[in-house]
Symmetry: C2
Subunit: 287 residues, 2 copies
Protein backbone atom coordinates (compact mmCIF):
# COMPACT_ATOMS: atom_id res chain seq x y z
CA UNK A 1 0.00 0.00 0.00
CA UNK A 2 1.14 3.54 -0.66
CA UNK A 3 2.52 5.97 1.88
CA UNK A 4 -0.28 8.43 1.14
CA UNK A 5 -2.29 6.49 3.76
CA UNK A 6 -2.45 8.73 6.82
CA UNK A 7 -3.68 7.74 10.32
CA UNK A 8 -5.90 10.86 10.33
CA UNK A 9 -7.74 9.82 7.17
CA UNK A 10 -11.23 8.34 7.57
CA UNK A 11 -12.21 4.71 7.21
CA UNK A 12 -14.48 3.98 4.27
CA UNK A 13 -17.35 1.57 4.94
CA UNK A 14 -19.95 0.50 2.39
CA UNK A 15 -22.95 -1.75 2.10
CA UNK A 16 -25.81 -2.26 -0.32
CA UNK A 17 -28.08 -0.29 2.00
CA UNK A 18 -28.39 0.45 5.68
CA UNK A 19 -27.47 -2.90 7.24
CA UNK A 20 -23.79 -1.98 7.24
CA UNK A 21 -24.52 0.64 9.89
CA UNK A 22 -24.49 -2.18 12.46
CA UNK A 23 -20.83 -2.63 11.47
CA UNK A 24 -20.25 1.15 11.78
CA UNK A 25 -21.82 0.98 15.23
CA UNK A 26 -19.43 -1.79 16.30
CA UNK A 27 -16.41 0.05 14.80
CA UNK A 28 -17.35 3.28 16.60
CA UNK A 29 -17.58 1.40 19.88
CA UNK A 30 -14.17 -0.24 19.38
CA UNK A 31 -12.44 2.76 17.74
CA UNK A 32 -14.04 6.02 18.91
CA UNK A 33 -11.23 8.16 17.43
CA UNK A 34 -11.84 7.08 13.85
CA UNK A 35 -13.69 9.21 11.30
CA UNK A 36 -15.91 7.14 9.04
CA UNK A 37 -17.36 7.76 5.57
CA UNK A 38 -20.29 5.38 5.10
CA UNK A 39 -21.77 4.70 1.67
CA UNK A 40 -25.13 2.91 1.41
CA UNK A 41 -25.90 1.98 -2.19
CA UNK A 42 -29.63 1.98 -1.56
CA UNK A 43 -30.46 2.80 -5.21
CA UNK A 44 -29.38 -0.76 -6.02
CA UNK A 45 -30.26 -2.59 -2.79
CA UNK A 46 -30.48 -5.56 -2.26
CA UNK A 47 -27.27 -7.12 -3.53
CA UNK A 48 -28.10 -10.52 -2.01
CA UNK A 49 -30.40 -11.57 -4.84
CA UNK A 50 -28.07 -10.51 -7.67
CA UNK A 51 -25.51 -12.43 -9.69
CA UNK A 52 -21.80 -12.38 -8.71
CA UNK A 53 -20.93 -10.35 -11.84
CA UNK A 54 -23.46 -7.68 -10.94
CA UNK A 55 -22.31 -7.59 -7.31
CA UNK A 56 -18.67 -7.18 -8.37
CA UNK A 57 -19.55 -4.32 -10.70
CA UNK A 58 -21.52 -2.55 -7.96
CA UNK A 59 -18.83 -3.16 -5.32
CA UNK A 60 -16.16 -1.61 -7.52
CA UNK A 61 -18.15 1.59 -8.10
CA UNK A 62 -18.79 1.93 -4.35
CA UNK A 63 -15.15 1.33 -3.48
CA UNK A 64 -13.91 3.85 -6.04
CA UNK A 65 -16.28 6.47 -4.66
CA UNK A 66 -14.78 5.96 -1.19
CA UNK A 67 -11.20 5.85 -2.52
CA UNK A 68 -11.80 9.18 -4.28
CA UNK A 69 -12.74 10.60 -0.89
CA UNK A 70 -9.32 9.77 0.55
CA UNK A 71 -10.12 6.90 2.90
CA UNK A 72 -7.20 4.98 4.46
CA UNK A 73 -8.92 1.58 4.23
CA UNK A 74 -12.17 0.08 3.02
CA UNK A 75 -14.42 -2.07 5.16
CA UNK A 76 -16.91 -4.06 3.10
CA UNK A 77 -19.84 -4.17 5.53
CA UNK A 78 -21.88 -6.45 3.31
CA UNK A 79 -21.83 -10.23 3.43
CA UNK A 80 -22.75 -10.58 -0.24
CA UNK A 81 -19.86 -8.40 -1.43
CA UNK A 82 -17.49 -9.97 1.11
CA UNK A 83 -18.38 -13.40 -0.25
CA UNK A 84 -17.72 -12.71 -3.94
CA UNK A 85 -15.70 -9.53 -4.46
CA UNK A 86 -12.94 -9.06 -1.84
CA UNK A 87 -10.07 -10.45 -3.92
CA UNK A 88 -11.15 -8.43 -6.94
CA UNK A 89 -11.35 -5.23 -4.86
CA UNK A 90 -7.89 -5.84 -3.38
CA UNK A 91 -6.51 -6.31 -6.90
CA UNK A 92 -8.21 -3.19 -8.27
CA UNK A 93 -7.63 -0.78 -5.38
CA UNK A 94 -4.42 0.47 -3.82
CA UNK A 95 -5.92 0.27 -0.32
CA UNK A 96 -6.38 -2.25 2.49
CA UNK A 97 -9.78 -3.96 2.09
CA UNK A 98 -11.48 -5.84 4.91
CA UNK A 99 -14.69 -7.89 4.80
CA UNK A 100 -17.20 -9.20 7.32
CA UNK A 101 -17.03 -12.95 6.63
CA UNK A 102 -13.52 -13.98 7.66
CA UNK A 103 -13.73 -12.27 11.09
CA UNK A 104 -17.09 -13.93 11.78
CA UNK A 105 -15.87 -17.32 10.55
CA UNK A 106 -12.72 -17.13 12.67
CA UNK A 107 -14.67 -16.42 15.87
CA UNK A 108 -17.23 -19.08 14.96
CA UNK A 109 -14.62 -21.80 14.42
CA UNK A 110 -13.30 -21.12 17.93
CA UNK A 111 -16.74 -20.80 19.57
CA UNK A 112 -18.11 -23.94 17.93
CA UNK A 113 -15.39 -26.30 19.14
CA UNK A 114 -15.94 -29.75 17.63
CA UNK A 115 -19.53 -29.02 16.58
CA UNK A 116 -20.71 -27.62 13.24
CA UNK A 117 -21.09 -23.87 12.84
CA UNK A 118 -24.64 -22.59 12.21
CA UNK A 119 -24.88 -19.57 9.91
CA UNK A 120 -27.95 -17.42 9.24
CA UNK A 121 -27.71 -15.11 6.22
CA UNK A 122 -29.43 -13.96 3.07
CA UNK A 123 -30.16 -16.60 0.44
CA UNK A 124 -27.25 -15.25 -1.61
CA UNK A 125 -24.71 -15.44 1.22
CA UNK A 126 -25.71 -18.99 2.15
CA UNK A 127 -25.80 -20.19 -1.47
CA UNK A 128 -22.36 -18.71 -2.12
CA UNK A 129 -20.79 -21.12 0.39
CA UNK A 130 -18.56 -18.26 1.58
CA UNK A 131 -18.91 -19.12 5.28
CA UNK A 132 -18.28 -22.80 4.54
CA UNK A 133 -15.00 -21.90 2.82
CA UNK A 134 -14.00 -19.32 5.44
CA UNK A 135 -14.68 -21.67 8.36
CA UNK A 136 -12.80 -24.48 6.59
CA UNK A 137 -9.82 -22.15 6.24
CA UNK A 138 -9.82 -21.62 10.04
CA UNK A 139 -10.42 -25.16 11.24
CA UNK A 140 -10.18 -28.54 9.63
CA UNK A 141 -12.87 -29.91 11.96
CA UNK A 142 -15.76 -27.49 11.61
CA UNK A 143 -18.59 -28.07 9.18
CA UNK A 144 -21.12 -25.33 8.41
CA UNK A 145 -24.92 -25.61 8.43
CA UNK A 146 -26.32 -22.62 6.57
CA UNK A 147 -29.86 -21.30 6.92
CA UNK A 148 -31.17 -18.56 4.60
CA UNK A 149 -33.21 -16.09 6.68
CA UNK A 150 -34.39 -13.38 4.24
CA UNK A 151 -37.49 -12.42 6.19
CA UNK A 152 -35.32 -11.04 8.99
CA UNK A 153 -34.06 -8.40 6.55
CA UNK A 154 -37.62 -7.30 5.77
CA UNK A 155 -38.59 -7.35 9.46
CA UNK A 156 -35.56 -5.23 10.42
CA UNK A 157 -36.38 -2.63 7.78
CA UNK A 158 -40.05 -2.59 8.85
CA UNK A 159 -38.93 -2.10 12.47
CA UNK A 160 -40.65 -5.27 13.70
CA UNK A 161 -37.81 -6.51 15.88
CA UNK A 162 -39.84 -7.57 18.91
CA UNK A 163 -43.14 -9.40 19.37
CA UNK A 164 -44.85 -12.50 17.99
CA UNK A 165 -44.00 -12.15 14.30
CA UNK A 166 -40.20 -11.90 14.56
CA UNK A 167 -40.23 -14.51 17.35
CA UNK A 168 -42.04 -17.05 15.14
CA UNK A 169 -39.82 -16.24 12.15
CA UNK A 170 -36.62 -16.57 14.22
CA UNK A 171 -37.88 -19.81 15.73
CA UNK A 172 -38.69 -21.30 12.34
CA UNK A 173 -35.28 -20.42 10.94
CA UNK A 174 -33.39 -21.60 14.05
CA UNK A 175 -35.18 -24.94 14.01
CA UNK A 176 -32.88 -25.89 11.09
CA UNK A 177 -30.12 -26.11 13.69
CA UNK A 178 -31.95 -28.64 15.85
CA UNK A 179 -32.68 -32.33 15.42
CA UNK A 180 -36.02 -34.12 15.71
CA UNK A 181 -38.18 -33.34 18.71
CA UNK A 182 -38.10 -36.24 21.15
CA UNK A 183 -40.89 -34.92 23.33
CA UNK A 184 -41.39 -32.28 25.99
CA UNK A 185 -39.20 -33.90 28.64
CA UNK A 186 -36.22 -34.15 26.32
CA UNK A 187 -34.77 -31.03 24.81
CA UNK A 188 -34.24 -31.26 21.08
CA UNK A 189 -30.72 -32.04 19.91
CA UNK A 190 -28.71 -29.04 18.85
CA UNK A 191 -26.76 -29.75 15.67
CA UNK A 192 -24.51 -26.67 15.97
CA UNK A 193 -21.97 -25.30 18.42
CA UNK A 194 -22.66 -21.64 17.68
CA UNK A 195 -24.88 -19.47 15.51
CA UNK A 196 -23.31 -16.76 13.32
CA UNK A 197 -25.31 -13.62 12.48
CA UNK A 198 -24.17 -13.71 8.85
CA UNK A 199 -26.10 -10.66 7.67
CA UNK A 200 -25.63 -7.09 8.84
CA UNK A 201 -29.35 -6.74 9.60
CA UNK A 202 -29.36 -9.55 12.13
CA UNK A 203 -27.74 -7.87 15.17
CA UNK A 204 -31.16 -6.19 15.61
CA UNK A 205 -32.51 -9.66 16.50
CA UNK A 206 -29.59 -10.77 18.67
CA UNK A 207 -31.52 -10.88 21.95
CA UNK A 208 -34.51 -12.58 20.35
CA UNK A 209 -32.24 -15.19 18.75
CA UNK A 210 -30.53 -15.84 22.09
CA UNK A 211 -33.91 -16.28 23.82
CA UNK A 212 -35.26 -18.60 21.13
CA UNK A 213 -32.06 -20.67 21.16
CA UNK A 214 -32.64 -21.23 24.88
CA UNK A 215 -36.32 -22.09 24.33
CA UNK A 216 -35.40 -24.58 21.61
CA UNK A 217 -33.06 -26.36 24.01
CA UNK A 218 -29.85 -24.72 22.84
CA UNK A 219 -28.46 -23.71 26.23
CA UNK A 220 -24.82 -22.69 25.95
CA UNK A 221 -24.90 -22.09 22.18
CA UNK A 222 -23.21 -18.70 21.69
CA UNK A 223 -24.31 -16.21 19.08
CA UNK A 224 -21.41 -14.77 17.01
CA UNK A 225 -22.01 -11.25 15.74
CA UNK A 226 -20.03 -10.68 12.51
CA UNK A 227 -20.26 -6.90 12.99
CA UNK A 228 -18.50 -7.02 16.36
CA UNK A 229 -15.86 -9.45 15.03
CA UNK A 230 -15.25 -7.19 12.03
CA UNK A 231 -14.63 -4.22 14.33
CA UNK A 232 -12.05 -6.29 16.25
CA UNK A 233 -10.42 -7.22 12.94
CA UNK A 234 -10.33 -3.59 11.75
CA UNK A 235 -8.72 -2.49 15.01
CA UNK A 236 -6.04 -5.19 14.62
CA UNK A 237 -5.10 -4.25 11.07
CA UNK A 238 -5.04 -0.51 11.79
CA UNK A 239 -2.76 -1.26 14.75
CA UNK A 240 -0.48 -3.51 12.68
CA UNK A 241 -0.16 -0.89 9.93
CA UNK A 242 0.18 2.01 12.42
CA UNK A 243 -2.92 3.59 10.89
CA UNK A 244 -5.01 4.18 14.05
CA UNK A 245 -6.09 7.78 14.42
CA UNK A 246 -4.15 9.15 17.44
CA UNK A 247 -6.52 12.12 17.78
CA UNK A 248 -10.05 12.07 19.22
CA UNK A 249 -12.49 12.74 16.39
CA UNK A 250 -15.20 10.18 15.50
CA UNK A 251 -17.02 12.06 12.73
CA UNK A 252 -19.51 10.08 10.64
CA UNK A 253 -20.44 11.08 7.07
CA UNK A 254 -23.31 9.11 5.59
CA UNK A 255 -23.69 8.94 1.80
CA UNK A 256 -26.50 7.20 -0.06
CA UNK A 257 -27.35 6.71 -3.73
CA UNK A 258 -31.11 7.31 -3.35
CA UNK A 259 -33.67 8.88 -1.02
CA UNK A 260 -31.56 10.39 1.79
CA UNK A 261 -34.60 11.41 3.85
CA UNK A 262 -36.27 8.03 4.28
CA UNK A 263 -32.83 6.43 4.76
CA UNK A 264 -32.03 8.60 7.78
CA UNK A 265 -35.27 7.68 9.52
CA UNK A 266 -34.71 3.92 9.41
CA UNK A 267 -30.92 3.99 9.57
CA UNK A 268 -30.79 5.40 13.10
CA UNK A 269 -32.16 2.07 14.37
CA UNK A 270 -29.24 0.23 12.77
CA UNK A 271 -26.62 2.70 13.98
CA UNK A 272 -28.07 2.89 17.48
CA UNK A 273 -27.61 6.65 17.35
CA UNK A 274 -29.26 9.61 15.63
CA UNK A 275 -28.07 10.31 12.09
CA UNK A 276 -27.96 14.04 11.58
CA UNK A 277 -26.99 14.38 7.93
CA UNK A 278 -27.22 12.12 4.90
CA UNK A 279 -25.98 13.20 1.48
CA UNK A 280 -26.92 11.75 -1.88
CA UNK A 281 -24.17 10.88 -4.37
CA UNK A 282 -24.23 9.70 -7.98
CA UNK A 283 -21.83 6.83 -8.54
CA UNK A 284 -19.81 6.78 -11.73
CA UNK A 285 -20.92 4.13 -14.25
CA UNK A 286 -23.62 3.03 -11.89
CA UNK A 287 -24.45 0.06 -14.15
CA UNK B 1 -50.99 5.16 -32.38
CA UNK B 2 -49.49 3.82 -35.58
CA UNK B 3 -51.05 1.31 -37.93
CA UNK B 4 -48.09 -1.02 -37.43
CA UNK B 5 -49.99 -2.39 -34.41
CA UNK B 6 -51.27 -5.82 -35.43
CA UNK B 7 -53.78 -7.98 -33.51
CA UNK B 8 -51.38 -10.94 -33.83
CA UNK B 9 -48.53 -9.10 -32.09
CA UNK B 10 -47.84 -9.99 -28.45
CA UNK B 11 -48.72 -7.93 -25.40
CA UNK B 12 -45.72 -6.60 -23.49
CA UNK B 13 -45.94 -6.81 -19.71
CA UNK B 14 -43.23 -5.67 -17.30
CA UNK B 15 -42.58 -5.43 -13.60
CA UNK B 16 -39.60 -4.83 -11.34
CA UNK B 17 -39.42 -8.56 -10.66
CA UNK B 18 -41.75 -11.51 -10.54
CA UNK B 19 -44.85 -10.01 -8.91
CA UNK B 20 -46.21 -8.94 -12.31
CA UNK B 21 -46.72 -12.59 -13.17
CA UNK B 22 -49.94 -12.46 -11.12
CA UNK B 23 -51.11 -9.91 -13.71
CA UNK B 24 -49.96 -12.21 -16.54
CA UNK B 25 -51.93 -15.02 -14.90
CA UNK B 26 -55.09 -12.90 -14.84
CA UNK B 27 -54.58 -11.75 -18.46
CA UNK B 28 -54.08 -15.33 -19.64
CA UNK B 29 -57.31 -16.36 -17.92
CA UNK B 30 -59.25 -13.49 -19.51
CA UNK B 31 -57.49 -13.52 -22.91
CA UNK B 32 -56.18 -17.03 -23.69
CA UNK B 33 -55.46 -16.17 -27.35
CA UNK B 34 -52.90 -13.49 -26.56
CA UNK B 35 -49.15 -14.03 -26.76
CA UNK B 36 -47.28 -12.26 -23.98
CA UNK B 37 -43.69 -11.10 -23.60
CA UNK B 38 -42.99 -10.61 -19.91
CA UNK B 39 -39.97 -8.65 -18.68
CA UNK B 40 -38.97 -8.88 -15.00
CA UNK B 41 -36.26 -6.32 -14.18
CA UNK B 42 -34.97 -8.40 -11.29
CA UNK B 43 -31.45 -6.95 -11.56
CA UNK B 44 -32.90 -3.72 -10.17
CA UNK B 45 -35.76 -5.01 -8.01
CA UNK B 46 -37.36 -3.60 -5.87
CA UNK B 47 -38.61 -0.37 -7.43
CA UNK B 48 -40.88 0.40 -4.45
CA UNK B 49 -38.10 1.85 -2.32
CA UNK B 50 -36.58 4.03 -5.04
CA UNK B 51 -37.10 7.68 -5.96
CA UNK B 52 -39.59 8.66 -8.71
CA UNK B 53 -36.72 9.78 -10.99
CA UNK B 54 -35.02 6.41 -10.70
CA UNK B 55 -38.29 4.54 -11.27
CA UNK B 56 -39.04 6.59 -14.40
CA UNK B 57 -35.58 5.89 -15.81
CA UNK B 58 -35.94 2.15 -15.18
CA UNK B 59 -39.50 2.05 -16.57
CA UNK B 60 -38.40 3.67 -19.80
CA UNK B 61 -35.60 1.16 -20.43
CA UNK B 62 -38.01 -1.75 -19.77
CA UNK B 63 -40.67 -0.30 -22.07
CA UNK B 64 -38.19 0.31 -24.89
CA UNK B 65 -36.96 -3.27 -24.64
CA UNK B 66 -40.54 -4.50 -25.11
CA UNK B 67 -41.28 -1.98 -27.89
CA UNK B 68 -38.17 -3.21 -29.74
CA UNK B 69 -39.69 -6.70 -29.60
CA UNK B 70 -42.77 -5.55 -31.53
CA UNK B 71 -45.46 -5.62 -28.84
CA UNK B 72 -48.86 -4.10 -29.66
CA UNK B 73 -49.38 -2.60 -26.19
CA UNK B 74 -47.58 -2.34 -22.87
CA UNK B 75 -49.10 -3.37 -19.56
CA UNK B 76 -47.22 -1.92 -16.61
CA UNK B 77 -47.73 -4.70 -14.06
CA UNK B 78 -46.08 -2.77 -11.27
CA UNK B 79 -47.86 -0.46 -8.86
CA UNK B 80 -44.79 1.70 -8.31
CA UNK B 81 -44.28 2.37 -12.03
CA UNK B 82 -48.03 2.80 -12.55
CA UNK B 83 -48.10 5.41 -9.80
CA UNK B 84 -45.29 7.63 -11.13
CA UNK B 85 -44.44 6.88 -14.76
CA UNK B 86 -47.55 6.16 -16.90
CA UNK B 87 -47.92 9.64 -18.37
CA UNK B 88 -44.21 9.82 -19.16
CA UNK B 89 -44.31 6.39 -20.88
CA UNK B 90 -47.34 7.39 -22.97
CA UNK B 91 -45.53 10.54 -24.04
CA UNK B 92 -42.29 8.71 -24.90
CA UNK B 93 -43.71 5.61 -26.61
CA UNK B 94 -45.86 5.27 -29.69
CA UNK B 95 -47.90 2.47 -28.07
CA UNK B 96 -50.94 2.05 -25.83
CA UNK B 97 -49.78 1.85 -22.18
CA UNK B 98 -51.95 0.47 -19.39
CA UNK B 99 -51.26 0.38 -15.65
CA UNK B 100 -52.57 -1.52 -12.64
CA UNK B 101 -53.77 1.34 -10.44
CA UNK B 102 -56.69 2.90 -12.34
CA UNK B 103 -58.45 -0.47 -12.94
CA UNK B 104 -58.11 -1.37 -9.24
CA UNK B 105 -59.24 2.09 -8.12
CA UNK B 106 -62.27 2.03 -10.41
CA UNK B 107 -63.47 -1.33 -9.07
CA UNK B 108 -62.74 -0.23 -5.51
CA UNK B 109 -64.75 2.98 -5.78
CA UNK B 110 -67.77 0.90 -6.86
CA UNK B 111 -67.24 -1.88 -4.29
CA UNK B 112 -66.73 0.52 -1.40
CA UNK B 113 -70.00 2.42 -1.82
CA UNK B 114 -70.11 5.30 0.66
CA UNK B 115 -67.28 3.93 2.80
CA UNK B 116 -63.55 4.67 2.47
CA UNK B 117 -61.40 2.40 0.29
CA UNK B 118 -58.68 0.42 2.10
CA UNK B 119 -55.48 -0.11 0.11
CA UNK B 120 -52.56 -2.40 0.99
CA UNK B 121 -49.37 -1.80 -0.99
CA UNK B 122 -45.64 -1.27 -0.75
CA UNK B 123 -44.44 1.75 1.24
CA UNK B 124 -43.68 3.51 -2.05
CA UNK B 125 -47.12 2.94 -3.55
CA UNK B 126 -48.92 4.13 -0.43
CA UNK B 127 -46.65 7.15 0.06
CA UNK B 128 -47.13 8.18 -3.58
CA UNK B 129 -50.84 8.78 -2.97
CA UNK B 130 -51.55 7.20 -6.37
CA UNK B 131 -54.59 5.24 -5.18
CA UNK B 132 -55.94 8.29 -3.36
CA UNK B 133 -55.79 10.29 -6.60
CA UNK B 134 -57.11 7.43 -8.75
CA UNK B 135 -60.07 6.75 -6.44
CA UNK B 136 -60.84 10.49 -6.23
CA UNK B 137 -60.96 10.57 -10.03
CA UNK B 138 -63.62 7.81 -9.99
CA UNK B 139 -65.80 8.99 -7.15
CA UNK B 140 -66.20 12.25 -5.30
CA UNK B 141 -67.29 10.41 -2.15
CA UNK B 142 -64.60 7.82 -1.55
CA UNK B 143 -61.67 8.48 0.74
CA UNK B 144 -58.66 6.14 0.81
CA UNK B 145 -57.02 4.61 3.89
CA UNK B 146 -53.60 3.30 2.83
CA UNK B 147 -51.61 0.67 4.71
CA UNK B 148 -48.01 -0.14 3.72
CA UNK B 149 -47.52 -3.93 3.88
CA UNK B 150 -43.92 -4.58 2.78
CA UNK B 151 -43.51 -7.82 4.72
CA UNK B 152 -46.06 -9.51 2.47
CA UNK B 153 -43.65 -9.04 -0.44
CA UNK B 154 -40.87 -10.82 1.47
CA UNK B 155 -43.23 -13.58 2.63
CA UNK B 156 -44.47 -14.19 -0.94
CA UNK B 157 -40.92 -14.46 -2.25
CA UNK B 158 -39.97 -16.81 0.62
CA UNK B 159 -43.03 -18.95 -0.18
CA UNK B 160 -44.56 -18.52 3.29
CA UNK B 161 -48.12 -17.87 2.13
CA UNK B 162 -49.93 -20.04 4.67
CA UNK B 163 -49.53 -20.66 8.41
CA UNK B 164 -49.04 -18.58 11.55
CA UNK B 165 -46.48 -16.07 10.31
CA UNK B 166 -48.37 -14.70 7.28
CA UNK B 167 -51.62 -14.86 9.26
CA UNK B 168 -50.21 -12.66 12.05
CA UNK B 169 -48.63 -10.28 9.55
CA UNK B 170 -51.87 -9.97 7.53
CA UNK B 171 -53.86 -9.46 10.73
CA UNK B 172 -51.54 -6.73 11.95
CA UNK B 173 -51.71 -4.86 8.65
CA UNK B 174 -55.50 -5.28 8.28
CA UNK B 175 -56.09 -3.95 11.80
CA UNK B 176 -55.37 -0.48 10.37
CA UNK B 177 -58.77 -0.77 8.67
CA UNK B 178 -60.67 -1.36 11.91
CA UNK B 179 -61.61 0.90 14.79
CA UNK B 180 -61.05 0.35 18.51
CA UNK B 181 -61.97 -3.04 19.93
CA UNK B 182 -65.15 -2.73 21.97
CA UNK B 183 -64.91 -6.20 23.50
CA UNK B 184 -65.51 -9.77 22.40
CA UNK B 185 -69.27 -9.48 22.09
CA UNK B 186 -69.03 -6.53 19.71
CA UNK B 187 -67.17 -6.87 16.48
CA UNK B 188 -64.71 -4.10 15.82
CA UNK B 189 -65.86 -1.31 13.56
CA UNK B 190 -64.66 -1.59 10.00
CA UNK B 191 -63.47 1.74 8.66
CA UNK B 192 -63.41 0.64 5.00
CA UNK B 193 -65.89 -0.67 2.45
CA UNK B 194 -63.37 -2.80 0.54
CA UNK B 195 -59.70 -3.74 0.61
CA UNK B 196 -57.58 -3.35 -2.55
CA UNK B 197 -54.61 -5.66 -3.14
CA UNK B 198 -52.43 -2.78 -4.32
CA UNK B 199 -49.26 -4.80 -4.93
CA UNK B 200 -48.80 -7.57 -7.45
CA UNK B 201 -47.46 -9.95 -4.78
CA UNK B 202 -50.62 -9.80 -2.72
CA UNK B 203 -52.97 -12.08 -4.72
CA UNK B 204 -50.94 -14.94 -3.15
CA UNK B 205 -52.51 -13.92 0.19
CA UNK B 206 -56.03 -13.32 -1.09
CA UNK B 207 -57.68 -16.20 0.77
CA UNK B 208 -55.79 -15.45 3.97
CA UNK B 209 -56.78 -11.77 3.76
CA UNK B 210 -60.44 -12.74 3.23
CA UNK B 211 -60.33 -15.08 6.25
CA UNK B 212 -58.67 -12.51 8.49
CA UNK B 213 -61.13 -9.80 7.40
CA UNK B 214 -63.93 -12.10 8.58
CA UNK B 215 -62.15 -12.85 11.87
CA UNK B 216 -61.61 -9.14 12.50
CA UNK B 217 -65.34 -8.52 12.10
CA UNK B 218 -65.25 -7.36 8.50
CA UNK B 219 -68.07 -9.54 7.13
CA UNK B 220 -69.11 -8.36 3.69
CA UNK B 221 -65.94 -6.37 2.97
CA UNK B 222 -64.87 -7.42 -0.53
CA UNK B 223 -61.25 -7.80 -1.57
CA UNK B 224 -60.43 -6.11 -4.89
CA UNK B 225 -57.60 -7.75 -6.84
CA UNK B 226 -55.85 -5.17 -9.04
CA UNK B 227 -54.42 -7.95 -11.24
CA UNK B 228 -57.89 -9.24 -12.16
CA UNK B 229 -59.19 -5.69 -12.73
CA UNK B 230 -56.20 -4.92 -14.95
CA UNK B 231 -56.94 -7.97 -17.12
CA UNK B 232 -60.54 -6.75 -17.55
CA UNK B 233 -59.19 -3.32 -18.50
CA UNK B 234 -56.72 -4.79 -21.03
CA UNK B 235 -59.49 -6.83 -22.64
CA UNK B 236 -61.64 -3.71 -22.97
CA UNK B 237 -58.97 -1.60 -24.62
CA UNK B 238 -57.91 -4.37 -27.03
CA UNK B 239 -61.57 -4.78 -27.97
CA UNK B 240 -62.05 -1.03 -28.48
CA UNK B 241 -58.95 -0.77 -30.67
CA UNK B 242 -59.73 -4.03 -32.55
CA UNK B 243 -56.42 -5.43 -31.38
CA UNK B 244 -57.58 -8.74 -29.84
CA UNK B 245 -55.76 -11.70 -31.32
CA UNK B 246 -58.37 -13.63 -33.36
CA UNK B 247 -56.21 -16.78 -33.44
CA UNK B 248 -55.65 -19.24 -30.58
CA UNK B 249 -52.03 -18.94 -29.42
CA UNK B 250 -51.19 -18.00 -25.81
CA UNK B 251 -47.38 -18.21 -25.91
CA UNK B 252 -45.50 -16.74 -22.96
CA UNK B 253 -41.89 -15.51 -23.26
CA UNK B 254 -40.28 -14.61 -19.96
CA UNK B 255 -37.28 -12.25 -19.94
CA UNK B 256 -35.30 -11.23 -16.87
CA UNK B 257 -32.32 -8.95 -16.28
CA UNK B 258 -30.55 -11.25 -13.77
CA UNK B 259 -30.42 -14.86 -12.59
CA UNK B 260 -32.89 -16.66 -14.89
CA UNK B 261 -32.58 -19.98 -13.03
CA UNK B 262 -33.61 -18.89 -9.55
CA UNK B 263 -36.29 -16.66 -11.09
CA UNK B 264 -38.02 -19.58 -12.79
CA UNK B 265 -38.21 -21.57 -9.55
CA UNK B 266 -40.06 -18.90 -7.58
CA UNK B 267 -41.94 -17.35 -10.49
CA UNK B 268 -44.10 -20.43 -11.14
CA UNK B 269 -45.89 -19.76 -7.84
CA UNK B 270 -46.84 -16.28 -9.02
CA UNK B 271 -47.92 -17.42 -12.48
CA UNK B 272 -49.83 -20.42 -11.13
CA UNK B 273 -48.31 -22.51 -13.93
CA UNK B 274 -44.90 -23.99 -14.77
CA UNK B 275 -42.44 -21.64 -16.46
CA UNK B 276 -40.46 -23.60 -19.00
CA UNK B 277 -37.99 -21.04 -20.31
CA UNK B 278 -36.57 -17.80 -19.00
CA UNK B 279 -34.07 -15.75 -20.97
CA UNK B 280 -31.72 -13.10 -19.65
CA UNK B 281 -31.50 -9.72 -21.43
CA UNK B 282 -29.25 -6.70 -20.99
CA UNK B 283 -31.23 -3.48 -21.03
CA UNK B 284 -29.77 -0.50 -22.87
CA UNK B 285 -28.51 2.29 -20.60
CA UNK B 286 -29.53 0.29 -17.57
CA UNK B 287 -28.60 3.27 -15.31
Amino acid sequence: MTDRLRPEAPLGVFDSGLGGLTVVRAIREALPNEDIVYLGDNARVPYGTRSPDTVMKYALTCSRELADRGVKAIVVACNTVSSVALEMLRAELDLPVSGVIVPGARAAAIASGEAPVGVMGTAGTIASGAYTRAVAAQSSRSEVIGQPAPLLVALAEEGWTTGDVPRLVVRRYLSAFFGPDRGVAFPRDAKVGCVVLGCTHFPLFRELIEQELLDLGGRGIPVVDSAVQTAIDVEAFLEARRLKNPHPSGKLDVLVTDMPKSFAEVASRFLGDAITSVHQVDLKSSG
